[in-house]
Symmetry: C2
Subunit: 334 residues, 2 copies
């Protein structure tokens, strides 16, 4: 087990979830160092029952650190993860900086735990939307390969950080008060509105978030042949992402078969009750570890029985980010 | 032109939009009768600058009426539309009661105006999600047939009526105030949440809203061969629906071709700017006539060039309901 854990980006939404999970799971360590930008240094954050002071992140912050959990954006990871590795720490990086690097494993412990063992210092944590989709699709794919996926997301404000969650709250109040919404953190009004994910769009017309879902799934599943299209949309929800997923399989797959496979999968809870209706919802997926999967049905547009539609919700901060990283840490510490 | 128009369901969200549109468009009539349930009778609603009193709907309400616009639910249409027809009125019905009736045309004026001419008294107005999808897809389908569609919706509260819009408002305030959400009109919390459309689910696992989108599109396009799957989701937005649509065409279709076809289509505005990003959003689609279409791109999961992804937003109350009905009225009155 790591004797000394550092959390980089300790004051962010994912950073705080790291601290919460470290306090409550089997990753007990003798020492924890909280790191953030100079602006946040000096803040006090409770770790278990102890007040810890946040220190400024520098290249020298990692002396004696065994495990460094990064969630402070790609630039910070690019700059400081190598320093942490040099100091002897294993880095689990929540940013996109190293995800597609051939020398860096991209890991969801329920799916490709073996990849984590091959790390050379850095292990990348996948994109939140990718993780939540993969949790719902992998249990099916592993017994009957998925040949094509069409996914549309309903992504929570938390994916853009704690400030975006706060903006959803204050902006909603402004709109209810009849005031104009003033987007500051997110590029467009998020209160009572939705918009396509605002990451950069390349010549293909896909935004970076969509491309991540495609490429990261290929890497995690170890299968570049799966044809995937994604449309990523931000919705006025606080912290759980939802995804509508249409699947085509190599061979026919029945809803009963899919439901049974998912019911027997770790990290997934099937919520698929038709009368009275009870299906996955973000408010029920928030604050829990499992991804909720439901609306499992035979796709009527694929009459050969090779199509399944389903709907998944997962806590973006937890399984979509911090929990998955902590599970990776537990995996390599075991 | 109709001399005497009756609005059934005059106090509802769509009813009020009917009245607003009648006042502002070319459907000037000498007389307007506002009808609603006994509970709403006696209310005063402004038509242009005149205060009109709402009367209780009865079988005798339609004497002398030339045109009756119904939007008070399927049961009311079933019960009273035949009486209106018997009294000599043309009925345009916004409910689902008659949509799949072989003797009733189901009309979107930009798509199948010729069908309206064959009516025998009743013309059905399609489901709101169907109209908004069809407005985006028809201009492409008519030159290169769509063989398959995968659609996921982001449906506004307005689809469940004025009371649901009010619930979104008051419930959001309750949640912001730290109180529990108490769903009364909608079956689940809608504030800062989303849920699969709560219409009844049949043995196939599809809900009624999804089945409407499939069957009504077949009828309007006059093509039962299009393979369609839909996932319908309610989101915390007031009055414009959004839809993520994945299309497969008979022959290759380029994004430029799709964009040009849509730019030259009535009732559609292309909003598809990549840098700085500007794509369809419900707040910009609300209160306008046109459906906004964007995110038009070649689907990378269909390497044969036959796939297009796009995103559409349309005002559920306006083009999704009242405006389309008024356009039908103008069509048969011309």
């Amino acid at each position: 087990m790591p004797e000394h854990i550092a959390v980089v980006g300790a004051t962010g939404a994912v950073g705080r979830e790291f601290i919460d999970l470290i306090s409550h799971r089997n990753l007990a360590s003798k020492k924890i160092t909280l790191l953030a930008s100079a602006r946040s240094a000096g803040q006090k954050i409770k770790v278990g029952s102890t007040d810890c002071t946040v220190s400024e992140l520098t290249a020298g912050s990692f002396a004696g650190v065994d495990l460094a959990l990064f969630s402070a954006g790609g630039n910070i990871s690019q700059k400081y993860a190598p320093a942490a590795v040099k100091a002897g720490a294993a880095v689990i990086d929540n940013s996109s900086a190293f995800r597609m690097d051939d020398n860096v494993p991209l890991v969801i412990p329920e799916i490709n735990p073996q990849a984590a063992k091959k790390h050379r210092g850095i292990i990348a944590n996948p994109n939140c939307s990718t993780i939540i989709m993969a949790m719902a699709v992998w249990p099916l794919h592993r017994v009957n390969p998925v040949t094509r996926m069409v996914v549309s997301t309903y992504q929570a404000a938390s994916g853009a950080g704690a400030a975006a969650m706060h903006e959803l709250e204050t902006q909603s109040q402004d709109v209810l008060d009849g005031k104009d919404a003033k987007p500051q953190v997110l590029p467009f009004q998020v209160a009572f509105n939705l918009f396509n994910h605002n990451s950069a769009i390349d010549d293909s017309g896909y935004n970076t978030e969509e491309i991540k879902m495609i490429k990261e799934t290929h890497k995690i599943f170890g299968d570049n042949s799966i044809r995937i299209t994604a449309t990523c949309v931000r919705v006025p929800v606080f912290r759980a992402h939802s995804e509508s997923i249409n699947l085509t399989f190599e061979r026919p797959m029945t809803p009963d078969e899919a439901r049974e496979l998912l019911q027997n999968s770790r990290g997934v809870t099937v919520v698929d009750q038709r009368d009275p209706q009870h299906f996955p919802m973000p408010i029920e997926a928030s604050g829990i570890d499992d991804c909720l999967v439901g609306r499992i049905r035979q796709d009527v547009s694929q009459p050969d029985g090779r199509g399944i539609d389903l709907f998944v919700c997962g806590d973006q901060i937890r399984k979509g980010a911090a929990l998955n990283a902590i599970q990776i840490a537990e995996l390599i510490s075991a």
